[in-house]
């Protein structure tokens, strides 16, 4: 309330006479006159709410008044420090401390938990009151802010900061009584909510309820640390809390690169993303495009003779899915024939590495002198939620990548430039956080999705559990079946990690199909295949398996390499044969758990639910239509698939290559690159080499439910009768 003349009023505070303008709160009045009153829920840049009652003072009335919200009245006698007031505050603090996990996160990190400060000042070490028995929980979903409801004192500061200061309207209270707490949106996890990670709530919180998340390697070694003020000048950091930036000062640095300098190498692990401020950079794949199992064409008499002895059928993999583009972690895709692209100012790369700790998917080299921002996850998260940045990102995407992205899906190859232009502005880029459902089984279908980054799990709810149908990676698409058939969604698509999808609305989709009947035709074909495969899988899983069978994950497998231990003489011929067929590197290890009298060898099981495929930064591990999981020749050797495989079936092997000698430019030296290998069922031979080479007929590649049917089925019959 502003008025030109504000009458002054007089009152007494602690025996001191003060004169303040009318409407001033007691707290402000005391503050102006140098009398401190402890507060908790009051923050000066926010409207007071008076919920904590720590600032109570004796105003000579029946109850003490909360000084932060009580306006001073003329002639008030305020006593801020009487014994009773102290006792009241003491009790209050003690009550608050009894539920407080001392030392809380804030106290541990920065030592400035206001509640504990107060407690220390009041001399409270052990509260008399018992602790609450039910935990209130934590929320780790946000990338930048850690939520610990245990520490929350419901002071409302965050809510006021989010609503009143930043106008994001994300935070609110929920619940009643002892169950009260703060909530984001409709009590969503913070990371899934519409929170924009501005950091205001965290800055406002007095306790450890909302703290700045410490990201691994918070300190970036190289580069110039930027002043938050400079950062705020950048358009992309508009509307980001300055304090927040200050807190995360070391999480973003500016780096300069000379022309020709390598910025990052493919396969390396990292945790930072880069945003180009000036200059341009080349992004390419430095690994040779070659399979780990390479056998060149037979030149020379003897090698031709030898190749007659071990005949290989032609490698048909190219027929199945022709991928003209290799998806990488940037706003462009690399064409297969010449995997080089260029990035300019305003473009970002390394997002997946930064957010989900995937290895770098390509090598980036500065083409001209560049200046870049290198940032950690928290800063990236800020950016990604920032509206300005998002707008820029989407614009970039539409201009540069949408075309190639669409075209990299072979079905959409016939799209004309006009249509892509038409689509350009009508597509929507959506972000999903890990675990978030993109579309649910049974929902009406209204969109078609293309995956820009991240991994999506396509699964179906069945009696007995969830059946994973597929994992889709960048360049994959989903949602077309329901659009084509007009029925509700037949599967649930869930984001496995931070996923960004391009959403094309149903109308545009129909338009596309109408204009390009070829696309419709191939889409329908794919849809049909997918449905068929789903149906087949459903039939296969109707066997109720035995405990151990399940426990070892054998039910997941579609093809097992089993060694009959009553015939195997442990002669290692299978291993040698595998190595022979694959350039000296064996894809099979003769070790593993036993099932019945068989040893389930460590060799790719062609799982229904191929966990290995999740996370490949260049999408080189994929599944052919005939089951085999193969690793394409552009594997960059990051090792993620090897980690993911729960059975250890994927291994990394060194691969000798010629690389440019850094010491002598222009020359090449021998070096070793690492690539991932896994059993590919010897698809270019008539039967797997290991089975072929076993002299005792002990090695078999089998389909587990059929092979072990007579072991499982009798048990199955028993369980069925029990049910």
């Amino acid at each position: 309330m502003s008025s030109t003349t504000t009458p002054e009023i007089q009152l007494t505070i602690d025996g001191k006479a003060v004169s303040v303008p009318a409407g001033t709160t007691i707290f402000d009045a005391a503050r102006i006159n140098g009398i401190p009153i402890p507060t908790l829920c009051h923050q000066q840049n926010e409207n007071p709410v008076g919920v904590c009652r720590v600032c109570v003072v004796d105003v000579g009335q029946r109850v003490y008044a909360a000084s932060c919200i009580r306006q001073a009245e003329a002639g008030m006698t305020v006593k801020t420090a009487t014994d009773q007031v102290h006792a009241a505050r003491h009790t209050l603090i003690e009550l608050l401390m009894s539920d407080h996990p001392a030392p809380c996160a804030r106290q541990q990190h920065s030592g400035d938990c206001e509640l504990e400060h107060l407690a220390a000042n009041a001399g409270i070490t052990e509260p008399r009151f018992p602790r609450r028995t039910t935990p209130r929980g934590k929320d780790d979903s946000s990338a930048v802010i850690a939520v610990d409801h245990e520490s929350c004192i419901l002071c409302d500061r965050c809510i006021r900061g989010c609503d009143d200061i930043r106008h994001n309207w994300v935070l609110a209270r929920r619940g009643k009584g002892y169950q009260t707490g703060i909530a984001f949106d409709n009590n969503l996890p913070m990371g899934e909510s519409s929170c924009v990670s501005c950091g205001e709530c965290m800055v406002s919180c007095p306790t450890g309820a909302l703290t700045n998340k410490r990201v691994v390697g918070t300190e970036l070694g190289q580069g110039d640390v930027l002043d938050p003020a400079e950062l705020l000048h950048l358009p992309i950091f508009e509307n980001v809390s300055g304090t927040f930036l200050e807190l995360n000062q070391k999480a973003v640095v500016k780096r300069r690169f000379r022309a020709g300098e390598i910025i990052c190498r493919e396969g390396e692990f990292g945790s930072t993303a880069f945003y180009i401020l000036e200059g341009s950079a080349e992004v390419y794949l430095a690994s040779p495009i070659a399979h780990v199992k390479t056998e060149g064409s037979s030149s020379g008499f003897f090698s031709r003779l030898k190749s007659m002895l071990s005949p290989r059928e032609e490698d048909h993999r190219s027929e199945e899915s022709y991928r003209p583009f290799i998806p990488i972690d940037a706003s462009v895709d690399l064409p297969y024939e010449n995997p080089i692209a260029e990035l300019g100012p305003g473009e970002m790369f390394g997002e997946m590495t930064c957010m989900s700790y995937y290895p770098r998917s390509a090598t980036v080299r500065a083409k001209t002198d560049c200046a870049m921002l290198e940032m950690l996850r928290n800063v990236l998260d800020i950016l990604q939620r920032n509206k300005t940045f998002r707008a820029q990102l989407e614009r970039n995407y539409r201009v540069r990548a949408l075309d190639s992205h669409l075209r990299s899906v072979p079905i959409f190859a016939p799209l004309t430039k006009d249509f892509v232009d038409h689509l350009r502005d009508r597509v929507e880029l959506l972000r999903f956080s890990p675990g978030q459902v993109i579309c649910r089984q049974g929902d009406p279908a209204d969109s078609f999705y293309l995956i820009r980054i991240g991994f999506v799990k396509v699964s179906e709810e069945k009696l007995g559990g969830e059946l994973v149908l597929a994992y889709l990676a960048r360049g994959g698409y989903f949602g077309e079946i329901a659009l084509l058939t007009g029925s509700p969604r037949n599967a649930t698509c869930t984001a496995l990690d931070h996923v960004e999808v391009v959403r094309i609305s149903a109308e545009d989709f129909q338009l596309m199909l109408d204009k390009f009947p070829d696309i419709r035709h191939s889409l329908e074909g794919t849809a049909h295949e997918r449905l068929e495969e789903n149906r087949r899988r459903a039939i296969r899983t109707e066997n109720v398996p035995v405990d151990q069978f399940l426990a070892q994950g054998l039910m997941e497998a579609q093809s097992l390499l089993v060694l009959d231990l009553e015939r195997c003489t442990r002669c290692d011929q299978c291993v040698r044969a595998c190595a022979d067929a694959h350039d000296g590197v064996s894809r099979l290890v003769r070790e593993g758990l036993r099932f019945d009298k068989y040893l389930v060898a460590t060799s790719c099981r062609q799982c229904r639910d191929p966990l290995c495929m999740v996370g490949c930064p260049v999408g080189s591990i994929r599944r052919r239509n005939t089951l085999e999981v193969i690793i394409e020749d552009w594997c960059i050797g990051c090792g993620l698939c090897a980690n993911n495989c729960p059975y250890g079936n994927i291994n990394l092997h060194p691969f000798p290559v010629e690389v440019d000698d850094p010491a002598h430019p222009g020359r090449q030296i021998a070096s070793v690159k690492v690539k991932a290998t896994s059993c590919d069922l010897c698809h270019d031979h008539a039967e797997p080499s290991c089975v072929y080479a076993c002299p005792h007929d002990a090695a078999h590649r089998v389909n587990p439910p059929e092979f072990f049917a007579n072991i499982i089925q009798p048990h199955n019959a028993a369980t069925k009768t029990r049910n």
Binding site: T569, R570, A693
Partner: protein, 292 residues
Amino acid sequence: MIVLVLATAVYVAYSVRSIHGPRGGSALGLTYGIVGFSFMLFAGLLGLRKKFPIWRVGRAQSWMRGHLWLGFLSFPLILFHGGFHFGGQLTRVLMWLFIFVFVSGILGALLQHFMPRVYTAQLPMETIYEQIDRVRGQLAEEAVRLVEEACSALEGEVSHASELQRATSAGAGKMGGLTVASGLQADEEVSAQLRNFLNGEMLPYLNRAGAEGMSLSVAAQARTMFQQLRILLPQNLHSSVDDLENICEEKRQLDRQTRLHKLLHGWLLVHIPLSYALLLLGAVHAVMALKF
């Protein structure tokens, strides 16, 4: 089988009718000799076949069966060839070599038939033979780690204690108060005893390739020892003792595997070199016999 019957019939007829009994040099004797030697050559080629396992020249299994059958048949054929006589020096040596090779081959075939079952039944924790040393080293490391954890818990240091141990004491109050109300007694003496056990008994046992003379190599004795350990240690360290016992059991099985493996593969050390010698001298014999 038919071949064998046929060959026997022919031989019987031949030996009855021929003058002075069957001879290696006569036409039929030569036939027997050549056929028998060619069988032996094929049998010898199995080794070569195994060097190139992926060449599509016939399944390894077919070659193996061929090896067994033809090798088996070559024995009576060569006997027929020589007319059951041993002949001169070279042929005597050859015959003895052949007998050894044949017998060792039969023995090996039997071993390969029966041993895998023994293996499977007795060695639930078997591993790859060539890696036993490495696995053993890993077992030793694991044992050391386990004992370190337990000892640290006994000595009151929280940092080395495992998650489980901490979890069991989580309800005991202070985070740092592991020694309070959690049942873990700080006991230096027990910890020292445990370390002694590790260094004195387990590590020597685990690091040794064989098992002679070590008390832990006998299952009953080991059980007793570990039972004593259990009495010694407090309740929530019993899981560590169980793990140590399991490690010893695995080591026992690895030792047994070594023994069985040597048995299963040892005969090859006789069979293969002798068969090379046999083929070599047989070639010499063939050349010289035909030359004369």
